[in-house]
Structure formats: C-alpha cells, structure tokens
C-alpha cells in the first residue's frame, strides 16, 4: 500500500474515535453537542505542550489531556440539565469556539498558527509507531477497543438508564433515575475519548498548529458522521467516519484540481446530509427512528 492509502486509513481511524466519542454524548445521552473539536484540541495541545515544552513522556501528555477534557466535559454537562436542544447546541458551539480561539491566540502557550513542532513519535515497547508501520494497527486497535467499551456501556443497566434519560428525562426522574449522573458520565467519557484522539493526532503529525482542524468545521464534521452513520449505532458511526473522511481522498484520486475539489467536497457533504435526513433519518445503520 502506498503512503496515501495508509494515511487515509489512519486518519479515518482518528475520525472513527472522534465519532465514537461523540456518539456517547449525542447517541446515548441525547446531548446535542457541536463543540466536540474542543476536546480534540485539548488532547492534541496537552500532548504537544507536555512532551515538547516539559519533556514529559507521551502517556503523561495523554493523561493530562484526558483529565483536562474530563473536567471541562463535566462543566459543560451542567447546562445540559437545564437547556433545551437548540440552546444547548449554541452553548456547545460557543464552548468549541472559545477553546479554538484560545489555542489560536494564547501564543505564549500554544504558538498559535505558528504551531508546535518536534512532538515525539509514539513508541510501543520501544518500537517507534510510524505512519506506514505500526500506526494503522495502533489507531484501529484503539477504535476497536473503544467500540467494545461502548458496546458494553450500551448493553449495561447503566447504559439503559442513560438512554432512558435521553428518551424522556421526566419519566426517568419519576422512576428514580437522576439525570445529571448520566449526562455527566456521557460528557466525561466522550470528552476523554476525543482528547485521546487529539493526542494520537499530535504524535502522528509531530507538528500541530491552531489550524490543524480544531475549529467548528471539525465539530460539524464529527456531528455529521454520527448523524450519517446513525446516532446510537456503533457500527454506524464508524461507517460514517470512514465514508465522510474518504470523500476528500476519493476526489483527489480523480485528479481534480484543488480549486474544484474543495467546493465539490462541501457540495457532496451537503447533498449526503440532506439525503440522509430526508430519506433515512435514523442514519445508515441507526435504529433510532423516533422523532417527536
């Protein structure tokens, strides 16, 4: 396989982790979040700053990212108790923008658009994880592990109660289910997994800057993957991630010049999303059909 194909597989894997992590929040807990890239950015920058500036080992950077993301996720879950979907979307949108703008403008910490380079390559048992070598195995191993964990969550009583809160918060309360517990857990788990994806990205690229895809377009893209694949369906969101992340690569294979390919990509995303919402609102593999 050539480098392009492997890169495509790797980046699809990172998108799949992001989509799976958002699926916990949107699919299981029913919190409409379009600020998910914030957690991705937190992971990437934690790894970059910890490793490059402080010389910490990669696992420590990842851990710091996960803790930070978990804390912020918990904070964001508080308004989700009081706000309706549309207002909550605005809140998460604002949160995503705050984190993105912080990454761009807090130059003394993040170097802003100039970026941080020299992020060390990951090593597994002292074998370096290279793009063509271990990287696809590592990333997809993480995808399958995460998918397995989510499957366990989905089929546990805890997950069932989380979905009960999603479907009808008031009824869940009347049966003794305390919504904040489930929303907070979903937000924390989703944030940590997204942060982990960000750390993987940082080590994979070895250079990140504020324009490496931590803004609204990434949040919307992940959200689209979840909706396209089918919220609440593990297989669905992974398929959604593969499909949508493959679109730009496929266009490139056709040899279209960038000036044509870029707008065409947007058009294809738009058409795909409209088609899904109209013809298959539950997503490609989703089961969640009901809409009030």
């Amino acid at each position: 396989m050539d480098l392009h194909t492997v890169e495509m597989i790797n980046s699809a894997g990172i998108w799949a982790i992001l989509a799976l992590s958002l699926n916990v929040i949107v699919g299981y807990a029913g919190i409409a979040s379009i600020g998910h890239a914030a957690f991705y950015a937190i992971g990437a920058y934690s790894s970059a700053i910890m490793c490059v500036r402080l010389g910490a080992p990669p696992w420590l950077g990842m851990a710091v990212g996960c803790v930070l993301a978990a804390g912020l996720g918990a904070l964001i879950s508080i308004p989700s108790l009081r706000l309706r979907d549309d207002y909550l979307m605005l809140t998460t949108l604002g949160f995503g923008e705050i984190v993105y703008l912080t990454c761009r403008n807090w130059e003394s910490l993040t170097n802003g658009p100039r970026g941080i380079g020299g992020i060390p390559t990951l090593r597994v048992l002292s074998v370096p994880v290279t793009e063509m070598g271990l990287m696809p195995w590592l990333i997809w191993g993480c995808v399958f592990t995460l998918a397995g964990l989510l499957w366990a969550l989905e089929h546990s009583p805890f997950g069932r109660q989380m979905m009960a809160v999603r479907d009808n918060e008031i009824a869940a309360m009347s049966l003794g289910v305390r919504p904040i517990l489930y929303k907070l857990t979903a937000m924390v788990v989703g944030a940590m997994a997204a942060s982990f994806a960000g750390s993987l990205l940082a080590h994979k690229l070895s250079f990140i800057d504020s324009e490496a895809g931590f803004g609204l377009s990434t949040s919307v893209m992940v959200f689209a993957m979840v909706i396209l694949g089918g919220r609440g369906s593990i297989m669905g969101v992974v398929a959604g991630a593969i499909l949508l992340s493959a679109v730009p690569e496929v266009l490139r294979r056709f040899g279209l010049p960038l000036a044509t390919a870029a707008p065409l990509r947007q058009i294809i995303f738009g058409i795909l999303l409209v088609a899904i919402v109209v013809f298959r609102p539950q997503g490609l593999f989703g089961k969640l059909k009901f809409r009030e």
């Binding site: 366990a152 969550l153 089929h155 546990s156 009583p157 805890f158 069932r160 109660q161 979905m163 009960a164 999603r166 479907d167 009808n168 008031i170 009824a171 869940a172 309360m173 009347s174 049966l175 003794g176 289910v177 305390r178 919504p179 517990l181 857990t185 609440g232 089961k287 969640l288 059909k289 009901f290």
Partner: protein, 251 residues
C-alpha cells in the same frame, strides 16, 4: 379533612395545608389528604387541582407551603428521582404518556427496577457489569408484562405500540418500580374496555400481592368505582369529601 377509614393505622402519605398558586390561580388551597393502603381514587371537575396535587406529591412541583409526610417521614421539596428511589418511594404515571420511545418494551420496564449499589462509584461499576442482574430482574418484569398482555411485544420499541398498549406499558413501568405509593394520572383515559379490565386486574393484584398503594385520578366513573377502595372528591383545590367502599356512588 376527610376521614377515610376508621382504624388507627398510620396513613402511607399524609399531606397538610398544601398550597400552590400559579399567577393568581389557586390550584391547591390548603389541601389536606391522607392516603391509606389500597387503591384511592380522586375525582373532581377539570381544574380542581388533581394534576397539581400529583405534581406536588411526586416532587415535580414545589408547594408554596404545607408538609408532606411519606410513612411518617417529611419529604417536602425532595426532587422526584429521590422520592422514587428511596425505600418507601413514590412513582407516578403521566397524563400525556411518557415512554422511553427508542427502548424496547422490556427495557422500558427494566429502567424502573432499582439496581443494587446505588450511585456510589462502586455501585456504578457494578451496574456496568453487563446485564448481570438480568436473570433475576427478568422474571419479575416478565410477570408484569404477561399480566398486561405485553409479553409478546417485549422486543418491540415503545414507539411501535398502539395507544392502549402504550398506556399499559406506562402502568407496567410503575408496577415494576418497587415504590410503596404509585400515582396514576388518568390510567383509563382513551382505553378500550378490555384494557380497562386488564388495568383493574393488575392494580388489584399489585395491591394484594406486593403491598402497593395507589392514588388514581380519572374521569371514568364506572372503572373508578369498580377498582377503588375509596374515592375522594376534589373541588377548587381541596378535598371536599370521601366515599368509602366499592359500590361508592360519587356525589
């Protein structure tokens, strides 16, 4: 205040001086009520405050003043999930049916079951173990589904059910919750005679078998008279009278 039965048992729920007003409309006006074991009905014209009473008793709405004692314990101002979860708890159904639409019929009822461990970290870990509780819980829940003739539909999603079946499922969920007192808001509304019979049978069975007390609000007099052990009448935010006995005629 209405005296319901002549013996000296402590009522399951006892409320005194409940007041609730919404923008000048007095929904509950110093309401006193004692709810004893068995099935208690509440009738009264629209706007008498029946649903407000339910909201206040189940913790969804805070009374402006007054006290609520559940088995002798003061529970005013408790949030609904706490009222439902604690031991002699209160569960309720809703006038507009509230189901977990995307979950299966079986899962809808299983949500109501309490799981060992509570909300501590350890408790959550235990609840994460995949459906380990299922076998034990399943039998209990299947019994309820069979009683309500929903057992064959257990894998269907709630939103696929007919109106009457949805109504039954909501009742089944309340029956599965092991709360001492269950508040049912219009359980007979829009339900066909066969299902009314099913509901009545399920209620009396739960009353006799598993020590559950019920408070019902409904406009279907015949069903209320056949199933209730006593019927209270509400008017303008107060309980104005009581009629005891199965053949009670509602004045």
């Amino acid at each position: 205040m209405a005296t319901l039965l002549n013996d000296n048992r402590q009522p399951i729920l006892s409320a005194r001086g409940l007041r609730k007003r919404f923008d000048g409309v007095v929904a509950l006006d110093s309401l006193d009520i004692d709810i004893e074991d068995g099935i208690t009905g509440v009738v009264g014209p629209n706007g008498a405050g029946k649903t407000t009473l339910f909201d206040v008793l189940s913790g969804f709405s805070r009374p402006d003043s007054g006290t609520v004692l559940l088995c002798g314990r003061r529970v005013n101002g408790w949030p609904p999930h706490r009222l439902a979860r604690q031991h002699p708890g209160i569960t309720r159904s809703f006038q507009e049916i509230r189901l977990f639409e995307e979950l299966s019929v079986l899962d809808n009822v299983l949500v109501a079951r309490k799981f060992s461990g509570g909300t501590t970290v350890w408790g959550i870990m235990r609840r994460l173990t995949i459906r380990r509780e299922l076998r034990k819980e399943l039998n209990e829940v299947l019994k309820i589904l069979r009683l309500l003739e929903l057992a064959d539909l257990q894998q269907r999603r709630a939103h696929e059910l007919s109106y009457g079946q949805r109504k039954l499922l909501e009742l089944g969920r309340c029956l599965a919750a092991e709360s001492r007192l269950t508040l049912l808001d219009e359980p007979f509304a829009g339900v066909n005679p066969h299902m009314i019979e099913l509901i009545c049978r399920a209620l009396t069975k739960a009353r006799d078998g598993s020590q559950k007390a019920f408070l019902l609000v409904d406009h279907n007099r015949r069903a209320m008279e056949s199933v209730c052990d006593r019927i209270l009448r509400m008017e303008q935010g107060r309980v104005v009278g009581a009629v005891t006995g199965g053949q009670a005629h509602v004045a």
